[in-house]
């Protein structure tokens, strides 16, 4: 296992591994996403209180989950890159940031569109919404810092520290609805008790969540491939690859 991971740390191997893995994750995203979307939009019941508006949940909740999952993943990869100086890990962290930022943006926008008809307001400065907005700023700050530093390795070290500092925000987002009183309701699926969502709504929700996760994996691997080619453009194998096609 360790051996396999060690060999994957070589850019050339990772490049080829990422190519096929990305394809499979992309297929998985479609396999779960298309039926998931059909169930969510056409074949799931309206909510007893919210009626048809509840269908926004099937995009909003997976996007919000992914916004946090991508951040944790990005911080973990950045730490591995910082401690062991593994360039592929730094590339994964770098490639994750824009994807995470878009998921956060999607969660905020769909949440706002959901908030107007249900709560009566587009936005409120409660703890959940504010901490999610801070997450978007963390992503944007990470991207800006990465772009501001010319040298790749210096940039990787500086952004890893920023990513680690921002990790503190993740538990705050998750527990914000328990620690303080907010307009946003509490957790439904991830609470320790039984999830308080009917299975006919939980199934499409989980399918969408799996699809979003697979989509993230597919896109991040593709972006890492591009970054590896860019980093290794002077090396023999990349020249060979470029000459071949």
């Amino acid at each position: 296992m360790w051996n396999w991971i060690h060999r994957l740390a070589s850019p050339k191997r990772f490049y080829h591994f990422a190519g096929s893995a990305s394809r499979w994750f992309g297929i998985a995203a479609l396999l779960f996403g298309l039926p998931g979307l059909y169930l969510a939009l056409f074949n799931s019941p309206p909510d007893y209180q919210q009626g048809e508006s509840v269908r926004i949940m099937y995009v909003h909740v997976p996007a919000a989950w992914l916004s946090m999952f991508v951040y944790v993943n990005m911080a973990a990869a950045a730490t591995v890159g910082m401690v062991w100086r593994i360039k592929v890990a730094s590339a994964v962290a770098h490639a994750s940031a824009p994807i995470g930022a878009w998921f956060t943006f999607l969660a905020l926008v769909t949440g706002s569109l959901w908030g107007k008809p249900m709560w009566g307001t587009w936005w409120i400065w409660d703890a959940r919404l504010t901490s999610e907005l801070i997450l978007l700023f963390l992503y944007l700050g990470y991207i800006a810092l990465q772009n501001a530093i010319e040298d790749r390795d210096t940039a990787a070290r500086a952004t890893a520290v920023l990513a680690l500092v921002g990790v503190v925000n993740i538990p705050i987002i998750h527990y914000s609805v328990e620690w303080w009183n907010t307009l946003h309701q509490g957790a439904t699926v991830t609470k320790l008790d039984r999830p308080s969502i009917h299975w006919s709504m939980l199934v499409p929700l989980l399918m969408m969540a799996i699809s979003f996760t697979a989509l993230y994996a597919a896109v991040v691997l593709r972006r890492v491939r591009c970054e590896i080619l860019d980093r290794e453009q002077r090396s023999g194998w990349v020249r060979e690859l470029a000459g071949k096609s």
Binding site: P45, P46, D47, Y48, Q49, Q50, V54, M57, T79, M82, V83, W84, P117, M118, W119, G120, T121, I124, W125, D126, A127, A160, V161, L164, V165, V167, V168, N169, I172, W179, W180, N181, T182, L183, Q185, G186, A187, T188, K191, D193, R194, S196, I197, H198, S200, M201
Partner: protein
């Protein structure tokens, strides 16, 4: 593990723990301000500001909603189980507004002790179910069957 890597790993740990402690202290110090609304009990205990606007949250009391037939004026009680307050509002209420629903109102306390709300927002709970299931639960409750999971 070689000592340089070990040091870097410790550094990473120190960053996370240090920032975590700093954030926890800041949030504990600010907790009063992070809470979105005051409950009726807090208002009765005098914790809410008397001279400027604040938010009041609670459940709409059953049977307390009275509407003026000629205008948008509506008056209702909110409770947190212990204390309750009367809210007076002129405007359009959100679709989710109903008796027993959680709401958050923004406004100030008037001279007569009523809460004059400029804005009323509805909270919804974390339960999602089809209308038929809600109907079945309602029927079961009226027949005297109590289910811990669905009790709210």
């Amino acid at each position: 593990m070689n000592p340089i890597r070990k040091n870097r790993l410790i550094l990473a740990g120190v960053i996370v723990v240090g920032v975590g402690i700093a954030a926890a202290l800041a949030l504990v110090a600010l907790s009063e301000n992070i809470n979105l609304f005051y409950s009726p009990s807090q208002v009765v205990a005098g914790e809410a500001p008397r001279d400027h606007t604040f938010r009041l949250g609670g459940l709409v009391e059953e049977g307390s909603v009275s509407r003026d037939p000629d205008s948008l004026v509506v008056q209702f009680g909110v409770t947190d189980g212990a204390e309750s307050m009367i809210i007076y509002h002129r405007g359009i209420l959100p679709d989710l507004f109903r008796e027993g629903q959680g709401i958050v109102a923004q406004g100030r306390i008037g001279d007569d002790g009523r809460f004059m709300a400029d804005e009323v927002l509805a909270k919804h709970d974390e339960n999602y179910m089809p209308p038929e299931v809600e109907h079945a639960l309602e029927t079961a409750r009226s027949l005297g069957v109590t289910d811990q999971k669905t009790e709210r």
